[in-house]
Symmetry: C2
Subunit: 421 residues, 2 copies
C-alpha cells in the first residue's frame, strides 16, 4: 500500500529515502515563518482545508475548476480542497471584521491542494505561508508586506545576493490596458498573457496580443522602461528607510496570474533563476466585497510563500541545518534492578524541562552509551549503589567526559539546572 | 458565503463570535503537545491528509466507510480524508523502518475527518495529537506511553484530581472471549458490545451478549473485579516509580472500539465525567504486518488526544491563558516627517528579535499610545529632533512610564537588549 500520487510523507531525519520529505525541515521552516511574523506583530489564523467550490469559482469562473482538487461530498455538496488561502481569509474577515481593529495583520500556514490531470511527478499539495494586511489602503502597508517577505527570507540565511523582490503594479498594467484596448472586458485575458510572457514562445505571445489589438513591442518597451509609478516609488522609499533597497527592484514583467489583484504586486525570485517564484503577492482591494456580497469593503494585500521551492532553494544554498533527536540527558541503566529507581530520576528531569531518553528494553552498557552519543546528549545519567547500599547519582558531561557524583536527586537536579543548556 | 458545516474557523483572540475557535488556544495546545513530546525524546512526522480508501477498509471492513469522509477523485480513485493517523503511521513505518533504530518514538498532530450523515452541529474534523512507540514488545513501552499522556495533561495544569487513566487489556478480553464463546470469528462483535457497555441500555447489551452465548452478569463481574493482569501490574509498577500512581487505575470497562488493538489499552477521562474521553490508545502489534502485506512485523503502541474535548475541559477548569498580539515595542510616529527615520529604527528592533508594531497610517498621538497599551507593549519608542536638528531616540517603559533618551540607535538597542524581556 502506498500513499497517493502527488502527496508527501514527512519523516524525521536522517531521511530513509530520497522520495520522502523531512519533518524536521518542515518544522524549522514553519517556526521561522511564525517567529518573523510575530516579530512584525502578525497574528495566526486558520480555516478549514475544505471549502464550498463556489468560494473559488465566484471570482475566477468555472475555468479554474480544471486545476482544483474538487469533488462531490456525501451530502451532494460541491467541495474543493483549498487551492489558496486568500478566499478563506476574505470570507473570515468579511464575517467578523467589525470586531477587530484595523489594520488586521494576520498570517497562516495552510496546506494547499490542486489536481491537474496531466502532471507526472508534480506535487498535488504544498504548505504555504500567507501573511496579509486588511484595512489599510496606503502604500505603507504594501511596504510592510514586502519587508516581511524580505525578512522572512533573511531569517533563513538568504541575502540580497540570493534573491530579489520584483515589484510591479497591476494598476499600472490596468491603466496600460484600458488606454490601448477597445474591449475592456478582456483585461483578465491580457493579464494572463503578460503573466506568461517570460515562459511562452514570443511568437505565441505576439499573436495573442495582436488579437487584443495590442503591440508586443510596445509591451516589451513598457517592461524595459522600469519606471516606478508614484505608488511604487513610495514603497521603494519606505524600504530604503529600512535599509532593504538591495532586495527589491521595479520589474513590470511581473503581473501575477490570479484575477483579484488591484494594486502593487510582487514576486520573490532567486537571483540565479534556478527556481520558480519563492513568494508572490500583492494588493486585492475588492475581494472581501465580492465574497461578502458587498457587505464588507476592506482594502487588502498579502502574499504566499510555499514550502517546496523554499526547501529546494535552502538545500541548494546549503542553508538547512541538520537535525537529530532531542536528548539533553540520556539515562544509562546498567543494572536492571535499578530500572525503577532510574525512572524516578527520569521523571524528575523531564518535569524540570530536560529532554530525557533511555533504553526501554534491557541493553548492554556499551550500546546504551553509544546511543547517548548518537543522540548528541549533553549528559548521561547513571544510578549506582555504594557499599552502604545507598543510591548514588552520577552525571557525566559528554563533551568533557567529566563525571559528578551526587547523593540525592535534588542535588543532581540543582547541578543540571545551574549548567548552561 | 459560509464555511462548510462541521468545520471550524480559527481566529485570533479576543474571539469575535461564540461560533468560532481560537487560533491562539490551538497554537498553545499544539506547542504544549510538541514540548512534552520532545522532552520524552519523541520526533515529529506527518503524512498526507488524504489516503487511499483501502488503507482504512483493509482492517475494519467496508462498514467503516459509513463514517469516513470519502469520495472519488478526478482520477477515479477511491479516496478518504484521514479519519485516524495510525494506518498512515503503520504504512510509513512499514516502508522504511529498516532505516531507523528501534524503538521508533514518533508523534504527529494531524487534522482528522469523518462524515456521519445524521449529525447536527457535530464537528467533522478535529486535530489529534498522536504519539507511538514502534519496535518494542515489552510493557516498559506501554508505561512510557501512558506516562506521556499523563505528563502532557499535567503540562496544561491538570492534576490527578482532574483526570484519570483507565487502564485495561484487550488481550485479557480476548482471552475472556475465547474461553467462553464457541464462535471465535465473532470476537470483534464482542469487543464492540463491551466498548458500548457504559453508554448502552443494559437490556440491549444483555440481549447482544446472550446472542453470543455470553453472560451479562459474568461480564459485569469481570469488570468489577479490576484484578490487574501480570502485564498491567508491570505497567502500574513502572508508573509508580515515576510517582504517577495517582493518575491511573485498572478498569476493564475500557476496551477501545477499533479492531486493531492487541494488548494493554487505556483511555483518559476527566474525573467529573463531564466529557467524552480526553485520550485513548493501546498496543496494536499486528497492524504494520497487515498494512505491509506481511513485510514488516513491528510490535507497536500509541494513543490519540483530540483538541476539541481538551479545549472544552481546559476552558471549564479555567486553565486557558488569555492571548493578545505580540508587541514588545510599539513605535509612536507623532511627526510624519520622522516616519522614514522611525522605520529605520523599527527594522533594527525587529532584526534584533524584538516584536515591534506601529501605525501604518498617520494617527493622532493619543490613539497611538492607546494602541500601545492595548497591545500590552513593554516599551514605546519615539523619535524626536532636538534644537540642533539631531535625532533623539526615546524609549518609555510602560510599566513605570519612565523614559530614557539616547543619541543613537546603537545605544537604544543596547539599552533594550540589557533589559529583561
Amino acid at each position: 500500500m502506498d500513499r497517493l500520487p502527488g502527496f508527501r510523507d514527512f519523516y524525521p531525519e536522517p531521511l530513509p529515502h530520497k522520495d520522502v520529505w523531512s519533518a524536521d525541515v518542515r518544522g524549522y521552516i514553519f517556526n521561522t515563518w511564525r517567529q518573523v511574523s510575530l516579530r512584525y506583530g502578525f497574528r495566526e489564523y486558520d480555516g478549514p482545508p475544505l471549502e464550498p467550490l463556489e468560494l473559488y469559482t465566484l471570482k475566477s469562473g468555472d475555468e479554474i475548476v480544471a486545476q482544483l482538487y474538487n469533488f462531490t461530498d456525501k451530502g451532494q455538496r460541491q467541495i474543493s480542497l483549498r487551492p489558496e488561502m486568500t478566499p478563506t481569509l476574505a470570507r473570515m474577515v468579511a464575517a467578523h471584521h467589525g470586531n477587530y481593529r484595523k489594520p488586521i495583520k494576520w498570517f497562516s500556514i495552510p496546506q494547499l491542494f490542486r489536481y491537474e490531470r496531466q502532471q507526472k511527478g508534480r506535487l498535488r499539495e504544498h504548505f504555504q505561508f500567507n501573511a496579509d494586511i486588511l484595512g489599510d489602503a496606503a502604500s505603507g502597508a504594501d511596504a510592510e508586506i514586502v519587508a516581511l517577505v524580505i525578512d522572512v527570507l533573511r531569517a533563513f540565511g538568504l541575502t540580497h545576493e540570493d534573491f530579489v523582490i520584483r515589484l510591479s503594479s497591476r494598476s499600472a498594467w490596468s491603466q496600460y490596458f484600458s488606454q490601448r484596448c477597445a474591449d475592456q472586458e478582456r483585461s483578465y485575458e491580457f493579464f494572463q498573457i503578460i503573466d506568461k510572457l517570460e515562459r511562452e514562445d514570443p511568437v505565441v505571445s505576439r499573436e495573442k496580443l495582436s488579437q487584443l489589438g495590442m503591440s508586443y513591442d510596445e509591451v516589451a518597451a513598457f517592461i524595459a522602461s522600469g519606471e516606478p509609478t508614484e505608488e511604487l516609488q513610495s514603497i521603494l522609499d519606505n524600504l530604503a528607510a529600512r535599509g532593504l533597497s538591495d532586495f527589491v527592484k521595479v520589474d513590470y514583467g511581473v503581473i501575477r496570474g490570479l484575477a483579484y489583484y488591484t494594486g502593487p504586486v510582487f514576486e520573490a525570485f532567486d537571483r540565479k533563476g534556478n527556481f520558480r517564484a519563492i513568494a508572490g503577492g500583492g494588493r486585492y482591494d475588492h475581494l472581501t466585497q465580492l465574497i461578502s456580497g458587498g457587505k464588507a469593503q476592506i482594502p487588502s494585500l498579502g502574499f504566499g510563500m510555499g514550502d517546496v521551492v523554499l526547501t529546494e532553494l535552502l538545500k541548494e544554498r546549503g542553508l538547512l541545518p541538520t537535525f537529530s533527536a532531542p536528548a539533553q540527558i540520556y539515562a544509562l541503566i546498567e543494572d536492571e534492578s535499578l530500572r525503577l529507581g532510574t525512572l524516578t530520576a527520569i521523571q524528575s528531569f523531564r518535569d524540570a524541562g530536560f529532554s530525557t531518553d533511555y533504553s526501554l528494553a534491557p541493553l548492554k552498557a556499551d550500546k546504551q552509551f553509544k546511543r547517548a552519543l548518537e543522540l548528541k546528549a549533553q549528559w548521561t545519567f547513571r544510578l549506582e549503589k555504594n557499599d552502604a547500599s545507598e543510591l548514588v547519582y552520577l552525571i557525566k558531561t559528554l563533551s568533557t567526559r567529566e563525571e559528578q557524583r551526587f547523593s540525592s536527586l535534588e542535588q543532581t537536579l540543582q547541578f543540571l539546572q545551574n549548567q548552561p543548556h
